[in-house]
Symmetry: C2
């Protein structure tokens, strides 16, 4: 399916977005270098925002834990919805500015991004997965492992991993 598709065929391109600069850079790169390709508006861009489980650092025994209390869950949901709105609004603005005709769909999920991304790619018959390489911050990455590495090994469709901008890497 994904392997023999031509450029004129409608493509479903899933872009993983979050609060990080890396994910916005990945979206921007995709818009400039992949979506502009067809000079038609047959592509559908699916913006996926996955909010990973909230990682709580316990001061008592020094371990990381996933908060599952009622208060945390409620707070987490509210924050996630707020962040989702901000991130998606920013991503949509970027799409409009760079490529007005593209169809944009949005999705939000809560849980381990590694599982959700692979499941959605499969379920929606995505033709291409696009993601940054350093999403989710240092602590969450240590907890969740590298999401992009996991996806690169497990999704069946082509995957484009866009690295951290040079200016950003230099400042780290």
């Amino acid at each position: 399916m994904a392997d023999d598709m031509g450029a004129a065929k409608e493509r479903k391109i899933l872009v993983v977005v979050d609060e990080s600069e890396e994910s916005m850079n990945a979206l921007s790169w995709c818009l400039k270098n992949v979506l502009v390709s067809t000079s038609s508006s047959t592509d559908t861009l699916i913006l996926l925002y996955v909010k990973p489980p909230r990682v709580v650092y316990s001061a008592l025994d020094g371990t990381c834990r996933t908060a599952n209390s009622r208060h945390f869950t409620t707070l987490q949901s509210l924050i996630s919805l707020y962040l989702f709105d901000c991130v998606i609004e920013k991503a949509k603005r970027m799409c409009r500015e760079q490529f007005q005709d593209v169809k944009v769909e949005t999705m939000i999920k809560h849980g381990d991004p590694r599982d959700f991304i692979c499941q959605i790619v499969e379920k929606l018959h995505v033709d291409m997965l696009v993601m940054g390489s350093h999403g989710y911050g240092v602590i969450k990455r240590a907890f969740l492992g590298s999401v992009s590495n996991h996806c690169a090994q497990n999704v069946k469709c082509p995957i484009l991993i866009v690295k951290r901008p040079k200016s950003a890497s230099g400042s780290k």
Copy 2:
């Protein structure tokens, strides 16, 4: 550099090719979905063929070794040159058939592809690296580790990993 480039800018796209169906599929996917994008001929496609060290399976102690005898080295060079010609000719034909205007350059290297690919990406200021996910066969992969995984973690530019065609995966 790679992070803020527009589609109109000249892009250097490095495609790793070898005898495998995966690498030709990656090239084909790139031609159909990325190179066609600019509707200009400002892209340069660099076809890189890296011949990894010959892996010899020792019947005596069951370990894999890199052959470094004179005979093996000479034979290996001759075979590599022959394979290089075949692979590059096939790849160039694919480029001409799908995208006549693209500028194509070719390179051959002997050694560990993980090192060479990363070095060349850096040296030539490549804007995008394209590769299949399952090159080099089962035994060589066990010996060399996953080349695409290594590159995904180490190159600075965006990397597109194109998976094995569904028909081929199904037959495995």
